[in-house]
Amino acid sequence: MTDEKKSCLRGSGLTKIFGLGQKKTVAVDHVDFNFYAGEIISIVGESGSGKTTLAKMLLGLISTTEGEIYFEGKLRDISTQKKKREYWKGIQAIFQDPYSSYNIFNKIDTVLLDCIKMRGGGRLPHAKKIEMISEACSFVNLKFEELTNKYPFELSGGQMQRLMIARIFLLKPKVLLADEPTSMIDACSRATILDMLMALRKETGMTLIFITHDIGLAYFVSDSVYIMEHGKLIESGTADEVILHPKKAYTKRLINDVPKIHEEWDLSTVKVSSIWNEA
């Protein structure tokens, strides 16, 4: 890595509070980070840690209660629909559950044609559009001829998730936020999905942000790892630093509690936690 790392996404004092008064919950609590362009970043946390809320704030799908987000060095402005659309040309996402990521009333063609339209290719001749879509499909090892006029639910989970990557291939965003992209699909398809994401990154040089609970995945794919606990980013650094030499007790516990195959999985550290409903 060179010295002149360019900041891609920077957050300062990011906070999200849901509800008012008594029912107030702080989902994300004064989070600061700086993601560099072209890096692969993982945000790791257990369920309820606020990682998905943070992801939605980064995507501009929900408003921030406090704090600023800087996109490529400039303060992000998504006050109008037009500006939002401009922002979303730069940042896109893949969600956890491929089955609920598609509008089941739209054909696959519609999903992909929308992407071309968003990239400003709405007026291109139809044949050119089909050519672009076919290229995107073959990038993820799907054949567009077999998919055209089909509905998403006619595909398998792995195929749907690959189609999501084809969508990203067409959009070519600068940042891709992948929210648990492999947790709902089988281990064998997982490798395929990860391979494709890596290939896509190689081709476009995009910044890749993984949101995951799987610390093994985070270690395997990422350059930098951020650990999130109760809405706060408690530890960050390169993957080797964080995973192999964790400093915080929470990170240590998280890594310690994952079953391993080459090292001993220490079961003696298990203590009775609170019996109360934590949610």
């Binding site: 064998c188 398809s189 080459h262």
Partner: protein, 335 residues
Amino acid sequence: MAKVMLEVKDLTTKYITRFRENVYAVDHVSLKVEEGKSLGIAGESGCGKSTLALSLMGYYFPPLHYTSGDIIIDGTNISTMKPDEIRKKILGQEIAYIPQAAMNALNPTRKIINLIEDVIQAHDPKAKKKEIYDLAVERFEVLGLPAEVLQKYPVELSGGMKQRTVIAISVILSPKILIADEPSSALDVTSQKMVIKMLLDLMEHGFIKSMIFITHELPLLYNVTDDIMVMYAGQIVEKGTAAQTVFDPLHPYAKGLMGSIIVPERGLRDVKLTAIPGVPPNLKNPPHGCRFAERCRYVVPECKVHPIEMLHIADNRHYRCIFSEEYLRKAYQND
């Protein structure tokens, strides 16, 4: 040789779909679990591992139907029993089952102790409440669950605690065999670890004699069970000890599965993940020959000719492939 707790011979069960098609989700499965041992079953979703778990209890309800084969629990063949007899004499007493979402199965309007009373009194109507309470407290203490849980309602417990409570309740009658189907996959890592610790404690204290553990998470399986069996498209394709199956898989599918393991351990960042192309075959109409042939990179035309038989290379080591052990190992080394 230790006593065989559960023996399954050529068990075949099928689903009958709405369109009257037969789907053989468990196809001639044979297995043996000895006393004090645990067996893990691994495989992708849809490979039939959860159906196998249901079938092992001998308690079938539509659309699942029994076709053929024997299930022998500690010398008693239950595959010929009537459903009612199985429900009264086998379930809970001989064999217990914990599904993935077990923690959501607790009746929210009753206290935990009431649920335990229900379970015990269903099998022994004369049991006294005091005795049941004493038994429950003792059992909970041994398993590291606070006794105060007994007086709580299910909603007052955290997810992990609820799951452990369900497990404690389902083995309160000390069944011989526990079948756990993804008991921890909905939980976060710390709760998962506590559930696993508890399952191992159950074995150690003899509350259960043997265990069958089903999951798609291989690192977990490797740490929990003595033996591992890999299922693909309704068939067992490989069986061996945990270490053998994970570090020295023979069947190409098992090899692929093991090649997709990701764990946060030093040096594992540079491993190349194996991807298996394609999708599993449709069990309504499975291929005649090897069921993995379509996705296998070592496939030869003979693979698709005849159904592949299990190869027994040692007492506890089988795999289902036409290639020899040496050929496969060499092929894997060359990749």
